[in-house]
Each structure stands twice: as C-alpha cells, then as structure tokens.
C-alpha cells in the first residue's frame, strides 16, 4: 500500500501508523505565543472517526489472533460511543457482530451512529449516586453479557486491556515523535480509559524523559461524554499517575465554549473533549511560556450537536422556520 497515493484495498489499511499518521495542525489565531507553538493532532481523521480506532483495532486483532472472535462469537463492550462505533464497524467488516452498552447520557447522535455502524445497542440508566470503586453500570452490564452468554460474546474491555495502551505506544507516540521531529515538550490529553495518556506518554518519555504530560479533566458531575473526572477513574486499570505531570480540572462548560472557538477561529471542527484539552493547554502556555505543545483531539463536533445546543446559550435559536 502506498499512503502517498491513498488507494487502499480495504478500510483497515487506512488505520494510522508512523507511515500514515493522523495530521497535526497548528493553532494560529487562538494561540499567539510564538515561543510556545501548539499543534492539534486530529484523531477524527481516522477511518471510523475517532482516536478509538487505535485501541479498537489493536484489541480486535489480538482477539482474532487468539481465536476469541469469529463466527457467531462477537464482542460486547462498555463505551461512551467512540470505541463502540470503531468496534462495531470493524467487527461487521470482519464478519462478526458487536454489542455495545452505553450510558443514557451519551448524545443521541452517537447512539444512532452505533446502530448505523451495526451495533446491537443497550442503553442503561445513568449512575444515580455512585460509590467509589464499584464500577459503573455500563461496564457491569457488558461483563454480564460476556459471562452469561460467553458463546456469543467476548469482552475486549478497553478499561483493562493492555492492548489499549500498546496501540498508543506503537502508533500515537511514534507518530508524534516523528511529526514533531522530537521537539515536543508538552503533551495535552484527556482522561477516559487512560489508554491514550498511558501509551503515548510511555513512548514519548522513552525518547525524552523531560516531556511534560498534562491531563485535562472536566469538573465532577460533568457532561462531556467519554471523559472521566479523577473521582471516576477507579474503573480504569490503565491509569498510571507516574506518567502524568499535571492533572488540570477545567469547568466542563469550557469544553463546549472552546469547541465553538476552535470551529469559528481555526476551522477545526473539534468536539468538546478537544475543547477541554485546548483550554487546559492555554492555561499551561500562560504558565510555562516556552515549549512545543501537542494536543490529542479525540474526535470532531458532528456527534455532539445536541450537546452543543444544550451547553451553548442561543446556539439553537433561529433553527426553525
């Protein structure tokens, strides 16, 4: 396959690698600090639309190699949407099925996309009053399917699967290192399963132990699908605080405000988690003054238009005759 020509024999050949990285685009109008250039790595340019293509493909390849999927046996996965979209589309293209369990608060656009991608969809009630450490409902329901119907489902489990970390160690990290020619000083990421931060940081720190890793998290009780506040991180076995220099907490509404700013000033139609990361990056730029920053933008805004209407006052005005 020749990435310069961009003609592929199947969709999987488009998946990212050091030779075929997702693009990085510099922030211009919204970051005037010349001593601290800031780039966004556009993960929505992945074939299934988000950063989750990386772990989804790594987990499925592993399951296929071990003979865990195929025929009537597919996968079941707890997800806030993106992993499910990648898994379902990939699984169907590989000839097996995928069931996904999502919390009710996931935006309608994502739920519909999951069905379009071919997922069997379980939507469960949002957490009422969670206790720390008890997992969440979507993870527990997916585990139940995998345990009670093991003939039909296996559980990749992005929250515990080391392939999630490995995917970023083998692709995201090397891509960034090569794209920045080793100049990166600050990596900005969000926290969800923590596969991105753990895998990418491990790789970048192996090249330059001085690279600063900044995780940006939304305030507790947030409404940014896919992200977790540190109080919710107990569910992820992949979180390794030793690989993170700073965890910034940002008012979750800024995720939506900054997503709008990025669309309207940079031409980057970035989703709310990208907006949150960008707000965190601006804080660090104003603190550290000098550096070379890379933000991992997980997905674009198209799946979040209903959430944008909810959180950006006036956005929905004038949209009907």
């Amino acid at each position: 396959m020749d990435h310069a020509v961009r003609v592929y024999e199947n969709v999987f050949e488009m998946l990212p690698s050091e030779e075929n990285p997702t693009p990085m685009v510099r922030i211009n109008r919204l970051n005037r600090t010349q001593d601290f250039p800031l780039y966004a790595k556009l993960e929505w340019m992945n074939p299934f639309g988000s950063v989750k293509d990386r772990p989804a493909w790594a987990m499925l390849q592993d399951l296929e190699a071990r003979g865990e999927v195929g025929g009537i046996r597919g996968v079941v996965e707890p997800t806030s949407g993106n992993t499910g979209i990648s898994l379902a589309a990939m699984a169907r293209a590989r000839g097996y099925h995928a069931r996904v369990v999502v919390p009710n608060k996931v935006p309608l656009e994502k739920k519909i996309l999951l069905k379009i991608a071919g997922a069997e969809l379980d939507v469960i009630s949002d957490e009422l009053c969670p206790a720390p450490g008890l997992g969440d409902g979507s993870i527990n329901l997916a585990k139940t399917h995998a345990k009670a119907s093991s003939d039909k489902y296996t559980l990749p489990n992005q929250y515990e699967n080391e392939k999630n970390v490995e995917a970023h160690f083998k692709t995201t990290g090397p891509e960034i290192w090569k794209q920045t020619q080793g100049r990166i000083t600050h990596l900005f990421v969000s926290l969800g399963t923590c596969g991105t931060v753990t895998g990418t940081s491990k790789f970048l720190r192996s090249k330059n132990p001085q690279v600063k890793v900044i995780a940006v998290q939304p305030t507790e009780g947030h409404d940014v699908p896919g992200l977790r506040n540190v109080t919710q991180l107990g569910v992820s076995k992949l979180f390794d605080s030793s690989l993170i220099d700073d965890i910034l907490e940002v008012d979750f509404r800024m995720a939506y405000k900054r997503a709008l700013d990025l669309s309207q000033n940079e031409g980057l139609l970035a989703g709310p988690s990208s907006g949150l990361i960008f707000e965190g990056a601006l804080e660090i730029i104003s603190r550290d003054k000098k550096g070379f920053g890379v933000m991992i933008f997980p997905d674009n805004i198209f799946k979040y238009t209903s959430n944008m209407v909810k959180h950006i006052p006036g956005l929905g005005a004038g949209t009907s005759a």
Partner: protein, 281 residues
C-alpha cells in the same frame, strides 16, 4: 470482632453458590433496570422490576398485600422458603425488596452481601440467561407491618426532636446544590434537606467491593462520628426510598437500632410539600 446485631440477614456469595440449588432456597434479583437480569442472572433466580412490580401502578404506594401475595406466589415462593435477595445498584432495590418482604411478614429473608456486582466479578460464580422453571404456589402475606415505614406526619413530628433523621443522599442533594442526580425524572420543586437531618450518604456503609463494612466500622460511622443516637427512634430517607432502604437495613439489622423506619416518600414527597420547612447547606 463484634458481630452484626442480626448476622443471619446477610449471606455471602460463596454461601449462595453452595446453597442455591437446595430446596427451600429462593433467589430473587431486584433491579431498577431489568436489562441486567435479562443479560444474565444467578441460575434459578427470578427477576423483579422495582418500578413496575414492587410499586402500585396507579397511586404512589408500595404494592398492596394482595398484589404482593400474587407476585410472590407467582414466583413460586412459599411462606416457609428462605428468600435470598440481590440486585443492581449495590443492592439498593434488593434492600427495598427486603423492606417490603418484612412489611408483609416474610420470616426468612436475606440480602446477598455485595449484590450482583460482587457475584459478577467472582470467576467461580455462574450467570445464565435461562429463565427458571416456576411452579406458582399459594402465598399468604401477613401485616402490613407499618412500624417499618415512616409517613409524612411522622416526619414532621420527628423534626420536633427525639428522633434521628438520616439523609442518605449525596452531599450535593443534601445541601440543595442539586435537587436530584442528573437525568432523574422523579424530582422535587425544592432542593435541600429535612430540618435536623444528618447527612450520611448510603455509600458510607460499604466497602470498595460493595459489601457492608464491619460491625465496628458501622457503629463508629453512624453512632460515634455522625451522632445517630441509639436511644432515639430513627427515620432514614433519600429521594425515592431505595437508597434509604439500604441504610434502613444497616441501622436496623446490622447495627441493631430499635425502631428504624424507612421514609419511602423521601425527598420527592417532602421537597414538593407546600410550606414544609427546608434547610439548605
């Protein structure tokens, strides 16, 4: 090590595994979202839906004695059976079921410590999607024992002193920062708490794996730290009476306080009452 005041009300997952096929043992899963039961349950267990089967579907109330008899008999449970309850959301709804079984006088009823999450996470514990084969029996309920239930007039009376009022909701619900957890359809006109109530969130009573804390820890938390006076009668409440069933179970059976009532009207009743006094923060 001190024992729970009534240790017989609690069974461990290993005990359930060893005894689940014995005659006279009946397993019941009670969930707010029965997708969990449908996806997989303990072999032989029947599933009850808290919203549609344990609540009267016309007025806001627990199901009637007749409806309870029909439900339990229809599930093949006889008066002499030992009923093992477990469920989602860390046994909140199973604890509500326990409360209902006690209101209608069932003698042998137990909670499975840790609920379905603990069972799910233990490798040797099976789950199935097969529905149990049930032979309906005649079931005769007693009661109702309304000593276990607080109604609104008693809640007003309790505010005059002489009672413990225990609010088991999250701190943000207690202070009135939020009226209900996000996305809930059952809510109230006002946020805050009943005057004089102490905030002891339900989760205070459980370990990281969802099992109940030890007798000493529970005594220490509720009596020493939070100031629940064992000499007084107690009312526990939450938003709709399910989380407070969990704490009611802890206070009455594990700590062994006298006269503990579950106020199932909870904040969705109290927070809607015109002119009722409310405290915030």
């Amino acid at each position: 090590m001190a024992r729970y005041a009534n240790p017989e009300v609690l069974v461990e997952t290993d005990w359930v595994l060893a005894n689940m096929n014995k005659p006279g043992i009946k397993l019941v899963e009670i969930d707010v979202d029965t997708k969990a039961y449908d996806a997989g349950h303990i072999p032989g267990g029947v599933g009850f839906n808290w919203q549609t089967q344990l609540q009267d579907q016309v007025r806001r109330d627990i199901i009637s004695k007749e409806a309870f008899e029909k439900l339990i008999g229809g599930a093949g449970i006889s008066n002499s059976d030992t009923v093992i309850l477990y469920g989602d959301n860390n046994n909140w709804f199973a604890a509500y079921g326990f409360w209902l079984f006690k209101i209608y006088g069932h003698k042998e009823v137990r909670l499975m410590n840790g609920g379905r999450v603990k069972w799910l996470n233990e490798k040797d514990k099976p789950l199935t999607t097969d529905l149990p084969k049930i032979t309906p029996v005649k079931y005769t309920a007693a009661g109702p024992n309304l000593e276990l239930r607080a109604m609104l007039p008693q809640v007003f009376e309790a505010q005059r002193g002489g009672w413990n009022l225990v609010d088991v909701r999250s701190p943000d619900e207690f202070t009135g920062k939020v009226i209900a957890p996000p996305g809930m359809s059952e809510t109230a006109q006002r946020g805050g708490h009943i005057p004089g109530a102490r905030s002891v969130p339900w989760s205070t009573a459980v370990n990281q794996d969802g099992t109940f804390k030890s007798a000493e820890e529970l005594q220490n938390i509720y009596i020493q730290q939070k100031g629940v006076d064992p000499k007084k009668d107690t009312i526990a409440y939450c938003r709709i009476g399910e989380r407070s069933s969990h704490t009611w179970f802890v206070l009455k059976y594990l700590i062994g306080l006298n006269n503990v009532k579950n106020y199932d009207g909870s904040w969705t009743e109290y927070g809607n009452v015109v002119a009722a006094p409310i405290e915030k923060a």
